[in-house]
Protein backbone atom coordinates (compact mmCIF):
# COMPACT_ATOMS: atom_id res chain seq x y z
CA UNK A 1 0.00 0.00 0.00
CA UNK A 2 2.85 2.33 0.94
CA UNK A 3 4.67 1.22 -2.17
CA UNK A 4 1.73 1.91 -4.46
CA UNK A 5 1.15 5.34 -2.97
CA UNK A 6 4.79 6.31 -3.49
CA UNK A 7 4.86 5.02 -7.04
CA UNK A 8 1.63 6.79 -7.85
CA UNK A 9 2.98 10.03 -6.39
CA UNK A 10 6.42 10.13 -8.02
CA UNK A 11 5.73 7.95 -11.07
CA UNK A 12 9.23 6.52 -11.13
CA UNK A 13 10.29 3.27 -9.59
CA UNK A 14 13.90 4.40 -8.97
CA UNK A 15 12.70 7.52 -7.18
CA UNK A 16 10.17 5.53 -5.19
CA UNK A 17 12.97 3.15 -4.27
CA UNK A 18 15.17 6.04 -3.05
CA UNK A 19 12.27 7.49 -1.09
CA UNK A 20 11.55 4.15 0.56
CA UNK A 21 15.20 3.77 1.56
CA UNK A 22 15.11 7.26 3.02
CA UNK A 23 11.84 6.43 4.78
CA UNK A 24 13.49 3.36 6.26
CA UNK A 25 16.43 5.43 7.55
CA UNK A 26 14.19 8.10 9.03
CA UNK A 27 11.89 5.62 10.71
CA UNK A 28 14.89 3.79 12.17
CA UNK A 29 16.35 7.05 13.44
CA UNK A 30 13.00 8.15 14.92
CA UNK A 31 12.58 4.77 16.63
CA UNK A 32 15.97 5.07 18.31
CA UNK A 33 14.95 8.46 19.69
CA UNK A 34 11.52 7.60 21.02
CA UNK A 35 8.86 4.95 21.12
CA UNK A 36 6.25 5.52 18.43
CA UNK A 37 2.82 4.39 19.45
CA UNK A 38 1.16 4.17 16.05
CA UNK A 39 3.99 3.09 13.83
CA UNK A 40 2.12 2.39 10.62
CA UNK A 41 0.58 5.88 10.19
CA UNK A 42 3.95 7.35 11.14
CA UNK A 43 5.76 5.36 8.42
CA UNK A 44 3.09 6.30 5.93
CA UNK A 45 3.25 9.98 6.84
CA UNK A 46 7.06 9.99 6.63
CA UNK A 47 7.01 8.43 3.16
CA UNK A 48 4.29 10.79 2.00
CA UNK A 49 6.16 13.87 3.24
CA UNK A 50 9.33 12.73 1.51
CA UNK A 51 7.43 12.23 -1.73
CA UNK A 52 5.85 15.67 -1.45
CA UNK A 53 9.25 17.24 -0.77
CA UNK A 54 10.63 15.41 -3.77
CA UNK A 55 7.80 16.59 -6.03
CA UNK A 56 8.13 20.18 -4.79
CA UNK A 57 11.87 20.16 -5.48
CA UNK A 58 11.36 18.64 -8.90
CA UNK A 59 8.67 21.17 -9.79
CA UNK A 60 10.90 24.13 -9.01
CA UNK A 61 13.81 22.40 -10.71
CA UNK A 62 12.13 21.70 -14.03
CA UNK A 63 8.53 22.75 -14.35
CA UNK A 64 8.15 21.32 -17.81
CA UNK A 65 9.00 17.64 -17.35
CA UNK A 66 6.63 16.92 -14.50
CA UNK A 67 3.80 15.68 -16.70
CA UNK A 68 6.11 13.92 -19.09
CA UNK A 69 6.76 10.70 -17.26
CA UNK A 70 8.27 8.25 -19.76
CA UNK A 71 6.17 5.31 -20.85
CA UNK A 72 8.63 2.95 -19.16
CA UNK A 73 8.00 4.61 -15.78
CA UNK A 74 4.28 4.23 -16.14
CA UNK A 75 4.86 0.63 -17.02
CA UNK A 76 6.76 0.18 -13.78
CA UNK A 77 3.77 1.36 -11.78
CA UNK A 78 1.95 -1.72 -13.03
CA UNK A 79 4.86 -4.09 -12.42
CA UNK A 80 6.58 -3.06 -9.19
CA UNK A 81 10.31 -3.54 -9.00
CA UNK A 82 11.53 -6.25 -6.64
CA UNK A 83 14.03 -3.91 -4.99
CA UNK A 84 11.11 -1.70 -4.07
CA UNK A 85 9.27 -4.63 -2.58
CA UNK A 86 12.41 -5.42 -0.60
CA UNK A 87 12.62 -1.90 0.84
CA UNK A 88 8.96 -1.89 1.80
CA UNK A 89 9.39 -5.32 3.30
CA UNK A 90 12.42 -4.16 5.32
CA UNK A 91 10.37 -1.34 6.86
CA UNK A 92 7.55 -3.69 7.81
CA UNK A 93 10.01 -6.22 9.21
CA UNK A 94 11.76 -3.60 11.35
CA UNK A 95 8.40 -2.39 12.68
CA UNK A 96 7.23 -5.86 13.59
CA UNK A 97 10.59 -6.90 15.04
CA UNK A 98 10.75 -3.83 17.27
CA UNK A 99 7.28 -4.51 18.61
CA UNK A 100 7.97 -8.21 19.28
CA UNK A 101 11.41 -7.71 20.83
CA UNK A 102 9.91 -5.25 23.31
CA UNK A 103 8.07 -8.19 24.84
CA UNK A 104 11.29 -10.11 25.63
CA UNK A 105 12.74 -10.11 29.13
CA UNK A 106 15.35 -7.43 29.92
CA UNK A 107 18.04 -10.12 29.95
CA UNK A 108 16.98 -11.46 26.56
CA UNK A 109 16.96 -7.93 25.15
CA UNK A 110 20.47 -7.36 26.48
CA UNK A 111 21.70 -10.63 24.95
CA UNK A 112 20.12 -9.70 21.64
CA UNK A 113 21.70 -6.24 21.43
CA UNK A 114 25.10 -7.49 22.61
CA UNK A 115 25.07 -10.21 19.98
CA UNK A 116 23.51 -8.44 16.99
CA UNK A 117 24.58 -4.83 17.53
CA UNK A 118 27.97 -5.23 19.20
CA UNK A 119 28.92 -8.59 17.72
CA UNK A 120 29.86 -9.90 21.16
CA UNK A 121 30.83 -13.58 21.47
CA UNK A 122 28.82 -16.02 23.63
CA UNK A 123 31.64 -15.95 26.19
CA UNK A 124 31.73 -12.14 26.32
CA UNK A 125 27.96 -11.96 26.76
CA UNK A 126 28.06 -14.68 29.42
CA UNK A 127 30.75 -12.86 31.40
CA UNK A 128 29.03 -9.52 31.16
CA UNK A 129 25.70 -10.89 32.37
CA UNK A 130 27.10 -13.42 34.84
CA UNK A 131 25.44 -16.44 33.23
CA UNK A 132 26.76 -19.57 31.50
CA UNK A 133 27.52 -19.62 27.77
CA UNK A 134 24.94 -22.37 27.32
CA UNK A 135 22.30 -20.03 28.78
CA UNK A 136 23.38 -17.37 26.29
CA UNK A 137 23.10 -19.86 23.42
CA UNK A 138 19.70 -21.08 24.60
CA UNK A 139 18.37 -17.54 24.89
CA UNK A 140 19.75 -16.57 21.49
CA UNK A 141 18.06 -19.54 19.91
CA UNK A 142 14.77 -18.47 21.43
CA UNK A 143 15.29 -14.92 20.16
CA UNK A 144 16.06 -16.31 16.68
CA UNK A 145 12.75 -18.15 16.81
CA UNK A 146 10.97 -14.90 17.63
CA UNK A 147 12.69 -13.08 14.74
CA UNK A 148 11.92 -15.90 12.30
CA UNK A 149 8.27 -16.12 13.26
CA UNK A 150 7.93 -12.36 12.84
CA UNK A 151 9.50 -12.64 9.37
CA UNK A 152 7.35 -15.66 8.46
CA UNK A 153 4.18 -13.88 9.55
CA UNK A 154 5.01 -11.00 7.17
CA UNK A 155 5.55 -13.34 4.24
CA UNK A 156 2.08 -14.86 4.50
Amino acid sequence: MLLRTLQRMVRSHTTAEDLLQETYLRVTRALTERAIEHLEPFVFQTARNLALDHLRARRTHARTIIDDAPISDIHNVVAPDSALEDAAHAIRLLESLSASLETLSPRQQKIFTLSRLHGASYLEIAEQLGVSTSTVQKELKLIMTVCLSVAARLDH
Binding site: L94, L101, E102, F112, T113, S115, L117, S121, K141, M144
Partner: protein
Protein backbone atom coordinates in the same frame (compact mmCIF):
# COMPACT_ATOMS: atom_id res chain seq x y z
CA UNK B 1 -11.22 -35.85 3.36
CA UNK B 2 -10.25 -33.06 5.70
CA UNK B 3 -10.02 -35.58 8.49
CA UNK B 4 -7.69 -37.80 6.50
CA UNK B 5 -5.48 -34.89 5.48
CA UNK B 6 -5.11 -33.02 8.70
CA UNK B 7 -2.99 -35.58 10.61
CA UNK B 8 -0.61 -35.77 7.65
CA UNK B 9 -0.35 -32.01 7.46
CA UNK B 10 0.36 -31.85 11.17
CA UNK B 11 3.09 -34.42 10.66
CA UNK B 12 4.65 -32.38 7.85
CA UNK B 13 4.47 -29.27 10.01
CA UNK B 14 6.14 -31.08 12.88
CA UNK B 15 8.92 -32.27 10.57
CA UNK B 16 9.43 -28.74 9.28
CA UNK B 17 9.56 -27.35 12.81
CA UNK B 18 12.09 -30.02 13.78
CA UNK B 19 14.28 -29.15 10.76
CA UNK B 20 14.10 -25.45 11.60
CA UNK B 21 15.03 -26.22 15.20
CA UNK B 22 18.14 -28.06 13.97
CA UNK B 23 18.96 -25.19 11.61
CA UNK B 24 18.85 -22.71 14.50
CA UNK B 25 21.05 -24.94 16.63
CA UNK B 26 23.59 -25.03 13.79
CA UNK B 27 23.40 -21.31 13.31
CA UNK B 28 24.32 -20.90 16.99
CA UNK B 29 26.95 -23.66 16.94
CA UNK B 30 28.75 -22.43 13.82
CA UNK B 31 29.97 -19.30 15.56
CA UNK B 32 32.18 -21.39 17.85
CA UNK B 33 32.63 -24.47 15.67
CA UNK B 34 35.99 -26.21 15.23
CA UNK B 35 36.87 -28.06 12.01
CA UNK B 36 35.21 -31.31 13.14
CA UNK B 37 31.96 -29.58 14.08
CA UNK B 38 32.01 -27.70 10.81
CA UNK B 39 32.36 -30.96 8.92
CA UNK B 40 29.36 -32.36 10.81
CA UNK B 41 27.40 -29.25 9.88
CA UNK B 42 28.19 -29.74 6.17
CA UNK B 43 27.06 -33.34 6.44
CA UNK B 44 23.77 -32.25 7.93
CA UNK B 45 23.37 -29.56 5.27
CA UNK B 46 23.88 -32.04 2.42
CA UNK B 47 21.65 -34.71 3.92
CA UNK B 48 18.35 -33.16 2.85
CA UNK B 49 17.35 -30.22 0.59
CA UNK B 50 14.96 -29.17 3.37
CA UNK B 51 17.97 -28.71 5.68
CA UNK B 52 19.62 -26.35 3.25
CA UNK B 53 16.39 -24.43 2.74
CA UNK B 54 15.72 -24.05 6.47
CA UNK B 55 19.27 -22.97 7.21
CA UNK B 56 19.29 -20.42 4.37
CA UNK B 57 16.06 -18.79 5.49
CA UNK B 58 17.13 -18.69 9.15
CA UNK B 59 20.49 -17.20 8.27
CA UNK B 60 18.93 -14.63 5.92
CA UNK B 61 16.70 -13.30 8.68
CA UNK B 62 19.25 -13.45 11.49
CA UNK B 63 21.90 -11.57 9.52
CA UNK B 64 19.51 -9.11 7.91
CA UNK B 65 19.69 -5.34 8.15
CA UNK B 66 16.27 -5.04 9.88
CA UNK B 67 17.44 -7.39 12.66
CA UNK B 68 20.58 -5.30 13.15
CA UNK B 69 18.52 -2.11 13.11
CA UNK B 70 15.99 -3.57 15.54
CA UNK B 71 18.90 -4.17 17.93
CA UNK B 72 20.01 -0.55 17.50
CA UNK B 73 16.46 0.65 18.17
CA UNK B 74 16.18 -1.53 21.27
CA UNK B 75 19.55 -0.40 22.64
CA UNK B 76 18.79 3.28 22.08
CA UNK B 77 15.41 2.99 23.80
CA UNK B 78 16.90 1.35 26.88
CA UNK B 79 19.26 4.27 27.37
CA UNK B 80 16.54 6.91 27.50
Amino acid sequence: MTDAQSPRRTQAEAARAETMDQALTWLIELEIADAATHARFLEWLEADPAHREAFASAEAVWHSQPVFDAAAVLAARKKT
